[in-house]
Amino acid sequence: MSSRKGRNEAARVVREQLAREKRRKRTLWTSVGAVVVLVIAGLIGWSVYSSQKSDTFTAPPGANDAGTGVVLGTGPVTIDLYEDYLCPACKQFQQASGETVNQLVSSGKAKVVFHPVAYLNRFSTTEYSTRSSAASGCAAKGGKFKEFTDALFAQQPAEGSAGLSNDQLIDIGAGVGLDRDDFGSCVRDGTYTAWTEHVTDDASKAGVTGTPTIKVNGTAVEDRSPAGITAAVEAAGK
């Protein structure tokens, strides 16, 4: 009687052990599968990003040596402006302090390096930030970068919209005196799209995490008012 009870007991223990073993194996394989899925997902993201990046770019005439921005003026102090044509705060900065910056340039106190970064592609449905920045490269080629930039900020589309179409960009370019055919084909072909990417990448590497960022001789300026900009340039020029 007692030996039969013992056999039953032993059989139950073995059954439980087998079930446990089976469960352990199943957990192991589902875990391995899940980890593989996650690793593959990460690799997909990385390779998609790598394939989107272009290796070569052509900087437009008027760009600095590094090809990271368009230079205006020849003054001794360098004012770096990092702006996105879609960024409302950049428009405000241009309206409030643009004239002061112009005067500093025309009086020979400073030169401007304008970096048309494409940080806000997510806030338009047509990658307006990239398209407008690449178009500004075309404007630089035609010798009207400053005029085109001012016109773009004056007609800035709202965040979240489709932005201005290529045709509208070309109309604006023609309006500031650019050759419609030359400028038009440059905008349509995206001649300076790779340059825009280079400008944007370089700005990120330089620690520019938002727009507008204003640097005077490499130091970020917190006070973006006309007085703040003037003071920073005066201090740097001494």
Binding site: R23, R26, T27, T30, S31, G33, A34, V35, V37, L38, I40, A41, G42, L43, I44, G45, W46, V48, Y49, S50, Q52, A89, Y119, N121, R122, E197, T200, D201, S204, K205, G207, T209, G210, T213, E222, R224
Partner: protein, 174 residues
């Protein structure tokens, strides 16, 4: 009489627990799918959002920024299907802890950035105040969901349950 009520209260937990688990699993899945989906359209911007925390070199930040949205989407899909739930919950909890640490360190260092948790990200415009505390509290809420699933991973309508071939059981050691 008193004995009966005590027994029903205790007896109800095993019945409702799987349904709480299901809600936690689907809730956490939705969090990851939204977070990944918001970022996947602009991988360069996702890299910039990571870079804005200033905790790693630019090249590393862009690689992580590119991989993260896809990993988040994959985690969301695993949780949605209920496959390897405990592991997915564990990885979710680990990721959330990293995010909370990142936000806290940005706060402590006085950076003015958006966490970039659901898209956007990067430095804030002047005059815009960062909202670190709500971001951390929100992540702690998500962490609670992950914690529930870590402790009780077995939920109804899951691939795990289907593979096991049995209804949600008490004391499952998966």
């Amino acid at each position: 009489m008193g004995v009966t009520t005590a027994r029903t209260a205790a007896g109800r937990w095993p019945v409702v627990r799987p349904w709480f688990g299901l809600a936690a699993r689907l809730g956490l899945a939705a969090v990851w799918l939204f977070a990944g989906g918001a970022k996947v359209g602009d991988l360069a911007a996702s890299g910039r959002a990571v870079n804005a925390y200033q905790v790693m070199p630019y090249e590393v930040a862009t690689a992580i920024g590119a991989a993260l949205p896809f990993v988040e989407l994959a985690l969301g899909l695993l949780l949605l299907a209920g496959l390897a739930t405990r592991l997915s919950a564990g990885i979710s909890a680990a990721l959330l802890l990293v995010f909370i640490a990142g936000i806290a360190s940005a706060w402590a260092r006085g950076l003015a950035i958006d966490c970039g948790c659901f898209g956007s990200g990067g430095q804030l415009a002047a005059g815009q105040a960062p909202s670190y505390l709500p971001e951390i509290l929100r992540d702690l809420g998500f962490l609670a969901l992950a914690g529930f699933l870590l402790i009780w991973p077995r939920t109804p309508f899951s691939v795990d349950g289907w593979l096991a071939g049995d209804p949600p059981v008490e004391d499952d050691d998966e």
